[in-house]
Symmetry: C2
Subunit: 424 residues, 2 copies
């Protein structure tokens, strides 16, 4: 086979007929498949079913003897913070264990900054003419939704395999004093799977920036590896302190994709000054986290090695799904040069770039055939992918056979969209 | 005995010596007692210990078969909303079951209004010169902390036995267009135990007010009765609709004092338009509530009658503590006319008024004797009780014997403070 762009008009027309027939047959199958969101599958959730009877009869005290059923303990259960302290590289006293969603913690951190400002802010962010965030693209749609919803201007920055393009970040920070934050998923980035290098991390904490500039270090996939090639965790808080910017980083993480997506525990970590700042606002909002659920997690996971072992069982379940993505794309798209995709060593996504101007059409064609794919553009601020090329693949949720069905159908839709464009 | 204010100088001086001796003996006991916060006691928490092994093996689906372990379901578990719908008088579709704290829901509702405004707002509240809330006093300190923290001006309104003084509310609403909210605890009010009458409720939803004026109807003690004289729930949403102000009321409640204080479920109820508004902001903040914990609550409580039965067991535990408060105050304070106190038929508090100008001194004397009482002034906006007379008593947490010890000591402190004032 030849690259689509090198096919003759006649060959393109023939391929168009062939793909149209293939697509019509696909539509007739009346599929109902969904690869839109990075959700764990039921088999993955089953790994944590001990939570359904934990912490167990008479178990409601922490190691210090505190009754966890009552109010209080705004910092969360020390034993649980201990388990995640090492892999997140946040000392226990600076690591808070809170509710069921790190997204809520990120939302609330931005909200607190909007209403009250950070310690270094001249005024609350909501009183500034403009507040901007750097948004490495493609990136996580729910990050962008938070900043868009709060009226924060989003400035895209190109992602590389080692993190955001640092030259671009440096130039933007130098040019634009309204920049107050950057969204980062440092390990197995959403959706490209990129892993930030220590060099990139050092640059991010070192570059000149506004005093209240914050790196939202969303370490969502810190322990979610698909190979034995486990990256060494970056001690971002120490790097920031060494660079003379100890208060520049907010670390977030959760067990949403370790235990239960709905019923996990989320973490906030930062410098002592930032943790005090966060707690001062949290004290007004909250009567304390659900410490019983935190105790459940301690009893389930035991320690850092328990987490690693638990994640190896996740890998056994989802590894074959990621392999299926590579296999189908390689077989269906490679020789046509119809797209390029990432091969992540962890996380929840594959990032696929199709021919420019074809992503939205391909996703629409797939939808008409009963295959729900994340809307094209979702990985960009304001849901606008200027090249209309990026599609995010979330392979974890469906059973393997359904996943392959969905991917095959999506490939048909992609090829049809691209050929349509070429035949004009 | 005679009222303190009617004692002769000589008698006052003698009483002063006697109380000083009594107080010195009290200090020497080196007590460490705490009646500061409305916390459930361990015996109360024990009533819900089935939560420690619920929902049980293999139990993670709702009645419709949805896997509750995964993301989604922003409105919360229908079965749980069903259980609380009747007593809260909120139809299930308009009642959201969310996280572990109704305080967080109130905080977030005010925050959403600050940053985005209500549907009827001309602009976000944070863009208004001044936003004010009416604060019935004495009231709940954590309500006042939210409004103070967000820079909302607080205007005190006198509480009566049937709710806030409606004439005062009417006058303030007519005079002051900056008023956008009122904090209400309609049943067994914190701290007076007042129960709003339907007449007061009707007035609150009917009085002319700003289009985005909201009643924060914190029904924290809806099912927390201490007698068989259970008040008929007020259907505040229907009253508001009948009055032509269907969107005026936000209803809040939680199981924090039904099941576990740290690990319960909170509710938000309102008109369809307000629920849509709330969900539109919640969708940005949250990946959905902890539905497994909601399922635990369904399995523990079963139905509305299950809740009522559960609350009768609470009453058996805390009823004697409330009786002890009355008994000690009656015996120690009544004949001296040293104070007046409420005899609530439910809720978590007794409100005590001592002689004007003596509350802070009495609380300080108690503290020096190792008896921690809620700081005087806490029940007022900005923690300033203009009369320095109100003290909130929270009798539920300590064992009965400790509670009586604390109350006896507090009475000594109160009498000493009052006699000090009279001897000059």
């Amino acid at each position: 086979m030849t690259a689509l762009t090198e096919l003759s008009s006649a060959d393109l027309r023939e391929l168009h007929s062939q793909l149209t027939a293939e697509y019509d047959a696909l539509v007739k199958r009346g599929l109902s498949l969904d690869i839109t969101r990075g959700k764990p599958s039921p088999a993955q959730l089953d790994l944590s079913n001990a939570l359904l009877t934990l912490p167990g009869e008479g178990q409601y005290r922490d190691a210090a003897g505190t009754d966890l059923r009552n109010y209080g303990g705004p910092q969360g259960l020390p034993e649980l913070r201990e388990i995640f302290s090492d892999v997140l590289r946040v000392p226990v006293p600076q690591l808070l264990a809170l509710g069921n969603s790190s997204l809520s913690l990120m939302h609330d951190a931005v909200t607190f900054a909007m209403l009250h400002g950070l310690p270094e802010s001249e005024r609350p962010w909501s009183r500034e003419e403009t507040v901007s965030f750097l948004c490495p693209v493609p990136g996580y749609d729910r990050h962008f939704t938070i900043t868009e919803h709060l009226g924060i201007r989003m400035v895209p920055v190109a992602m590389t395999e080692s993190g955001p393009d640092i030259e671009q970040v440096e130039r933007l920070l130098a040019e634009d004093p309204t920049i107050r934050g950057i969204w980062c998923v440092p390990v197995h980035s959403n959706p490209t799977g990129a892993i930030y290098t220590e060099e990139v991390a050092r640059a991010l904490v070192s570059l000149p920036a506004a005093a209240d500039f914050r790196i939202f270090w969303d370490n969502a996939y810190a322990v979610h590896h698909l190979t034995d090639d486990v990256p060494e965790p970056i001690d971002i808080l120490s790097l920031a302190a060494e660079a003379g910017n100890p208060d520049r980083v907010f670390v977030f993480a959760s067990t949403s994709k370790v235990t239960y997506a709905s019923a996990g525990v989320a973490f906030f970590g930062s410098s002592p000054a930032n943790v005090s700042w966060y707690l001062s606002h949290l004290a007004v909002q909250s009567i304390g986290p659900d410490k019983i659920n935190q105790l459940r997690h301690v009893r389930l996971l035991h320690d850092a090695e328990g987490v690693a072992e638990h994640m190896r069982r996740h890998r056994e379940i989802i590894g074959p799904k990621f392999e299926a993505v590579s296999e189908v794309f390689e077989r269906r798209l490679a020789s046509y040069e119809a797209g390029s995709w990432t091969s992540p060593t962890g996380g929840y996504f594959v990032s696929l770039d199709v021919h420019e101007g074809c992503a939205a059409r391909a996703v629409a064609l797939a939808a008409q055939a009963g295959i729900a794919v994340t809307p094209a553009g979702s990985t960009y601020p304001y849901k606008k992918d200027p090249t209309d090329a990026n599609i995010r693949i979330a392979p974890t949720m469906p059973p393997l056979a359904e996943l392959v069905d969905a991917l095959e159908g999506l490939c048909t839709a992609i090829l049809l969209a691209e050929v349509e464009q070429l035949v004009g």
